[in-house]
Chain length 120, copies 2
């Protein structure tokens, strides 16, 4: 070991990943959809895309890192499956806005109700 070797050449800080960054990529979103109902192996997944198996493997790693998917080893095959609970976190984030758009909808409701009453 060399003590003064501060950082490896290809030092990539891939730790700041979060679900939002993960779903930003269209291929990753497609993968998510693909395995939503049924766990799949990397090879099987890669067959659905126009990129190399290794590229898909990288996407799977990124999705794994933020725990949007999990894996189950079966012999030499690895089945990747979607972690729905993690998907719910996106939903959670959306919730703050859902509150707003539902409120706006209710306000419209009120307006309509008032109009109706005035007609009487």
């Amino acid at each position: 070991m060399i003590a003064l070797y501060l950082q490896p050449n290809s030092f990539k800080l891939e730790s700041r990943r979060d679900i939002f960054q993960a779903i930003a990529d269209p291929t990753r979103r497609a993968i998510i959809t693909l395995i939503a109902l049924q766990a799949m192996t990397p090879n099987a997944i890669a067959e659905h895309f126009d990129t190399s198996r290794q590229a898909v493997s990288k996407h799977l790693r990124i999705l794994s890192e933020c725990e949007l998917i999990s894996q189950k080893q079966k012999g030499r095959e690895i089945y990747y499956q979607l972690e729905l609970n993690k998907m719910k976190e996106i939903d959670k984030w959306l919730n703050q806005f859902r509150k707003i758009w539902e409120t706006k909808f209710n306000q419209l409701d009120t307006v309509l109700a008032n109009l109706k009453n005035k007609k009487k």
Copy 2:
């Protein structure tokens, strides 16, 4: 049966920006939350962050490009406001998974109900 919903309806022609790429950046998500309830000017928004006004301006442009926000000129000030309808597209995409996790929840319900019956 749950249909595959790979991409939201609206597509950007000029750039490959989409809502998912837009919300991938934490600063942009913060901006979205910030102006959700009240339209704000770029300067006012920038005061909330540790970056330059110009950087915020860039974020606003990206958010505008994918129509997540809109602007209203008032003299020399520009008020940016959130487009909730566009936010709903994220919700729409999530919907396919919501169906699944609700189904799984129902299945769990059934299991619990069966256990309860067996106890009797």
